[in-house]
Amino acid sequence: MAIGEERYQSELITRVIEKGICVNCGACVGLCPYFAYFDGRVAVMDRCGAGTGRCLQVCPRAAYTQIMREEAKGLEGRDLSLGFYSQVLTARAKDKYLHEEAQYGGVVTALVCLGLEKGLFKGAVLTDRGGELSPGGALAVTPFAVKSCAGSRYSASGSLSILNKAIKDENDGIAVVGLPCQMEALERMQRSVPDGGDRASKVAIRIGLFCTWALDYRKLRDFLYKNGVKGIVRKYDIPPPPAEKFVVLTEEGQKEFPLGEIRVFVQKGCYLCRDMTAEWADISVGTMEGTAGWNTVLVRTERGKDFLDDAFKEGILEKGNLPDENLKHLIVASRNKRERGKKAESDMLRDSE
């Protein structure tokens, strides 16, 4: 479908919302009053009826246009399972506190704190911890606020709605930390009309997180509630295979659930995803399997490389090498996700015929 045609809210509703494949990234929220993100889900508040619109263009699930990275052109023969990247390495924050509160090596938290302290950006769109209601986006402007958002949620947070709000409030110099779908949405935003380029220029850096899937928070909350987890959750973790566990850390202690019981809460739209390592980010960060307390880092752009180099220079991160074995494993996992996504999409198209 060419740009200029069918850029409608109703198209987005038909293609994504009504099919139940919205991944609640929040990219369509905050542009207008017709969508809202609340308690883990994107909701259609009203029909705008407009013949043009940005919501459909930015949606990572609308499959509205194919997008491809410039750098990847001409590399079609190469294995691009991890997307285009210039460098792969491992890292961890030197601040040991971050290993406790953040996920694994605490690289993302350390990077964002550094960026704010050095004025590389003025604020960062992160995901808060949630509570009674689901996790949601937060615009952090101090390291303290960044640290209070540390750690993985494993749930959708609609945090791009906060980016949209921040842009509407005339902020610029914003770092965005998000899931692969959200990095794709940012890329789609950049390419959208009429003001995508201008809006994307407010984003100082994109930090992507590795992701296998995200959970529907409302279902997770009901499950945890029924299983006696009633306080605020401090941290979630899915230890590397073959653990097959979902670990929940609350003030009252730690609880573990078989991963199989949790997987049923995975958002339907996540099964369509082909991107495990956030290929549209400047820097992608994930777990390092087999070595506790370290992150795997993929550097994808010049902007990302400069930022990371600066972090090493400032001495807030320690650098390590990713063993070939781990890289191979990451590539296989990433390729598998692409294959699963492709199959799920063709299944869905077949079912809808």
């Binding site: 207008c32 259609v44 009826g49 509407k168």
Partner: protein, 636 residues
């Protein structure tokens, strides 16, 4: 003193039908007046309550129609004349008491006035309440003009005392709200106190005896009706067509006969008492006409009775051609009109009735056509805020939830003004009863959230039993009481929560919150002007189980307007307004739809209509760009 309360009669006043009924009651020496507001009946008690400030009568707005009739019946049992008024729906509410009261009989003259609403102009239905007269075996009077309304009210009291039973006087919107010169009579001297004679109790036992007595009373009424000047015939002795007309329709028939120049061919039998029918009078006129047309609203009430009578009379009157609802000449629903009767008579006499001429005549009275307007909440109405918050909470929830509505201004929640959130509306309190049912459907797989709404007056009227039912049966119900401190839709009559009564006396308000809490129901109070906070509260309450109440409290904007007004002057910052662009799409005028907001089509920007906007300020929260600015009004 207002002229309408003048003690001595003889002057002509321009009275509304309802005022004429009130004056008729006063001239009859009525002492006790009660009712529940409802269009088109409300002015009757309003007038009598006003009179009560100067004349020794008592008037009250009762909690509902049934209690009104019960309270008035007490006065009757104690020998006083009493009147109750209500709209057609109210007669359903009183019906349980009515059908028993008509067995026990009455003491002092007791008149029930029902003002029906053909066309459902301001009602949920267009029910013909006359059928209750037949059901309860009581006389039914139908005036056609304000003068007749006054006279017939007086007759109704006399009749009630003659037969010792309640009498129903039936008006319709067109009579209740029309004005005409009306000759008033004297007010009586007020004497005599209230006394219940314990030797003459009022009850329905033995039932069969009382039932038989009731029919005998009806027979007496019929005999009185045969001689009454309220039933009268105009026209030739042997008309080509007999029109049997009652109520407002008689005016339409008279006008149509004159316009079509049919007075030598058409006779009009005007029935003032339509139950029981004056059989001898009818026998005479039925025998003299072969063709009979019925002009009545709304059901074929007289029509069917006359057809039955004609069958009973058999060869005495012969075979007739009947024109009415049975034959399809009169529509089975909706209000009648002069134009409609002109059409029917024109057809029956093959007279080409030039509809255009009549329409042209109407047009001369209306120089500028009135632009069509949809139903909508007033500027500043708290219901807009409530429904906006409900819409948000239900959309966030995303499980296809809906609102079980009730009776009041907020019934308009079925339309865009209430964001189409209300999916059912029936009778007073029924929204809450329905919700108590939905709240038990979980066991059958029902997982749609239901929010029920009722107003403060409706809460007192009939919602409380339903709420208790929900509590008793542990139903998952979320009731939003839209407390605007007024019976707004019918004209701001006081109710138990407002702090004053019909006669303007200060009374301790009944606190809705305490009532709910005393039932053991979880209660919160919110402000419907606080859109997002209210939406979050509703969402949170939706997640809870059992019966819950959220009272959304803000005065009706019209009341607030009279009591100090609103704090803001509103303005649209033109440079910020996105208009039709992506990001807004005329959100304020298309979705929010407060009538104080208008669309400047030339500039493609929103505007404040300074005449309509009251300055409540809530639209500034709804505007996606913060372009609607509120400024504190200067206190000069």
């Amino acid at each position: 003193m207002k002229e309408i309360f003048e003690r001595s009669g003889g002057s002509e006043l321009l009275l509304q039908g309802n005022e004429a009924i009130a004056r008729g009651a006063l001239e009859s020496g009525v002492r006790f007046c009660a009712g529940y507001p409802g269009n088109p009946s409300s002015e009757i008690i309003e007038t009598l309550a006003e009179a009560a400030k100067e004349i020794p009568v008592y008037a009250e707005w009762s909690i509902n129609e049934k209690v009104a009739l019960e309270a008035a019946a007490a006065a009757s049992f104690a020998g006083l004349r009493a009147i109750v008024s209500m709209k057609q729906n109210g007669v359903n509410v009183v019906s349980d008491f009515l059908t028993n009261l008509s067995l026990s009989g009455t003491g002092g003259g007791l008149v029930l006035v029902t003002c029906d609403d053909p066309g459902g102009i301001s009602s949920t239905n267009e029910e013909d309440a006359r059928l209750f007269a037949k059901l309860a075996d009581v006389p039914l009077l139908e005036p056609s003009t304000p003068q007749e309304a006054l006279e017939m009210t007086k007759w109704a009291f006399e009749l009630s005392e003659q037969i010792k039973n309640i009498v129903i006087l039936r008006s319709v919107s067109r009579l209740s709200h029309t004005r005409a010169n009306t000759l008033i009579g004297d007010l009586p001297d007020y004497g005599g106190g209230a006394f219940f004679d314990t030797k003459s109790p009022f009850h329905t036992f033995p039932v069969l005896t009382k039932h038989l007595e009731r029919h005998k009373k009806l027979d007496s009424a019929m005999i009185l009706s045969e001689r009454s000047a309220f039933n009268r015939y105009d026209g030739p002795d042997w008309p080509e067509l007999l029109v049997i007309a009652s109520g407002s329709c008689w005016n339409y028939v008279t006008e149509a006969v004159e316009l079509l120049d049919l007075s030598s061919k058409v006779g009009v039998l005007k029935l003032g008492m339509t139950w029981p029918l004056p059989c001898n009078l009818l026998r005479k006129h039925l025998a003299r006409a072969g063709r009979i047309l019925f002009a009545e609203e709304l059901d074929a009430f007289v029509e069917e009775s006359v057809k039955a009578l004609t069958a009973d009379l058999g060869s005495e009157v012969g075979i007739k051609n009947f024109y009415g609802r049975g034959s399809g000449h009169i529509p089975i629903c909706g209000e009648l009109s002069p134009g409609l009767i002109l059409g029917v008579l024109g057809d029956l006499f093959s007279k080409v009735w030039k509809a255009e001429i009549f329409r042209e005549k109407i047009r001369t009275f209306i120089p500028q056509p009135v632009p069509p307007r949809e139903f909508g909440f007033c500027a500043g109405c708290p219901h807009r805020g409530s429904f906006y918050a409900i819409k948000a909470a239900l959309a966030w929830d995303g499980r296809n939830g809906f609102v079980s509505g009730d009776i009041g201004c907020y019934s308009m929640g079925i339309w865009p003004t209430g964001f189409n959130q209300v999916k059912s509306v029936h009778a007073m309190g029924s929204g809450v009863g329905l919700a108590s049912g939905y709240g038990k459907l979980g066991q059958f797989g029902f997982d749609q959230p239901v929010i029920t709404v009722c107003g403060d007056s409706t809460f007192f009227h009939a919602a409380i039993p339903a709420l208790i039912n929900a509590r008793f049966n542990d139903s998952d119900i979320l009731l939003l009481i839209l407390d605007n401190s007024a019976t707004a839709m019918t004209g701001f009559q006081p109710h138990p929560g407002t702090g004053s009564n019909a006669m303007g006396h200060k009374v301790e308000p009944v606190d809705i919150e305490s009532v709910c809490r005393s039932l053991g129901v979880y209660v919160e109070v919110g402000d419907p002007y606080d859109l997002n906070v209210t939406a979050c509260a509703i969402y949170r309450l939706m997640g809870m189980a059992g019966p819950r109440v959220l009272i959304l409290r803000r005065k009706c904007a019209l009341v607030q307007g009279r009591q100090g007004g609103f704090p803001y002057t509103m303005m649209v910052a033109r440079e910020k307004c996105l208009g039709e662009e992506c990001g807004c799409g005329r959100y304020c005028t298309k979705i929010f739809r407060c009538p104080g907001l208008i669309w400047d089509a030339a500039e493609k920007k929103a505007l404040i209509d300074e005449v309509i906007c009251v300055g409540c300020g809530i639209c500034s929260e709804a505007c996606p760009r913060g372009a609607i600015v509120r400024m504190e009004k200067r206190k000069d």
